[in-house]
Symmetry: C2
Subunit: 298 residues, 2 copies
Amino acid sequence: MNQQPLFLGIDGGATKCRVVLQDFDGKVLGTGLGGSANPSHGMHTVIDSIQNAVQMAIAKAGLSMDVLTHTIAGAGLAGLHLARYRQQANEWQHPFRRLYLTDDLQIACLGAHGGQDGAVIIAGTGFSATSVTLGDSRVLGGYGFLMGDKCSGSWIGHQALQQVLLATDGLAPPTALEALIADKFDAQGAELADQLIDATPSQYASLAPLVFLAASKGDKPAEDILQQSADFLSRVARRLLESQPPRLSLVGSIAEMLRARLEPEVQSRLTALQYQPEVGAIHFARQMYAKEGQEVNA
Amino acid sequence: MNQQPLFLGIDGGATKCRVVLQDFDGKVLGTGLGGSANPSHGMHTVIDSIQNAVQMAIAKAGLSMDVLTHTIAGAGLAGLHLARYRQQANEWQHPFRRLYLTDDLQIACLGAHGGQDGAVIIAGTGFSATSVTLGDSRVLGGYGFLMGDKCSGSWIGHQALQQVLLATDGLAPPTALEALIADKFDAQGAELADQLIDATPSQYASLAPLVFLAASKGDKPAEDILQQSADFLSRVARRLLESQPPRLSLVGSIAEMLRARLEPEVQSRLTALQYQPEVGAIHFARQMYAKEGQEVNA
């Protein structure tokens, strides 16, 4: 007897990885969370993070790992728009019946709009954006840490550190960020810079909440950083809206936290997410699996 | 018979390393040039670069390497204000009779003002600045790549790349830098960003001449980057002038190239360099050696 397959959706981001397991009819059986799935830390980190998240989801579903042999998985991973990471990911000896790979942007868009046309802006640890319509498909950003990005958590954290170093030298106005960051790292000036000089995007992104905290208490330099981010995000939104997507959604914690600072016209165009990116990954897996079936039956 | 010592000055910067060899009376016997002396690439790179430069200077002087055993060396190395690099540098089994170590900023200041009080701003691959007066000694910057620095060659190169990536996505105005940088790397967009994501400060600094080129042809985004750098440099100068140093000099190719864009009041306060930093390193070595002699004789 042919067993009905299960479907697994994987959202692999720079700081964390989320998975959701559904039965054939779309009922959620379990969800899981793992660490960084940033391929620039090496594919073994990505695979570890995904495996941890999958184990958690299987356990929550009250199932055993055996089910993976009849599970169809879809994964959207940060960085997978780059050839070198795609190649590495394709070499993974995964435990699933099928694994369909794409980038994090595509699954976010599929999730946000339930598989229909639309545009999304992701701002979490990193930044990227896309608009998919019948006549046009465009991608913005997704270039990596401190690369053409002014609204991600890592950018906000990096800016905060710059403001602190400049303020320490009397080259920028005093800011509440000085004390907050000195406390977090127990260092300042040259020793603080040295601690962070090889920091990962996730480590920088971990400073972003301090910037929101300082801004909420009226710190002008912190508010300026966030307003710059929001202005950039508004510019991105306007650019995406040029291709007239039927919907536009924000994805990621930073995008959500910047929402109130966006231009009013942009705010008025925002539509709620239908599903999270990991559900978009299941959409993607179902589409690819159905297509493969058709090809086999053709 | 006691042989008169020779003196060797070493200026170890992020991109290159310069040495000068003098006889006891201060006559220049030879000069040499080596590669990067950036300790963040490992002390073996620093030592290799210095050794190459020293060999060149000895050869130009028509001497043999034996003279190093009666050579008193002074070295100012980028990064040596940080404890971990100081420790590594102190472990070097060097070939000199004596080696006195300090950071690049101190030797630049000693050279610029012939060993007297004064202030200097270094902007080459990296940025740092100091003012040394009787009543006050302050240091600004020197925090490393993309750390509280808005006027170094590496910062200018990084900004240029950001402008290009944003312009590619229609998020910033078109710039002549797009074609110049695409040509240099034979790549654009995501592939360009990926090529440069782990680039060294020196690699970024190698883009700075393209920014000066584009600005000289009237490219507004390139000119904006340079004016931002110059404004930062003016702010640094004003901060140094607060402690009323008798002299203020610019050191490094980028500082020199930004001179004409500085605030007029700042330009009017600039004084010419008396000597290059490697000669400042000899000043330092002579001071330290004389002090040691006094202590021995005391």
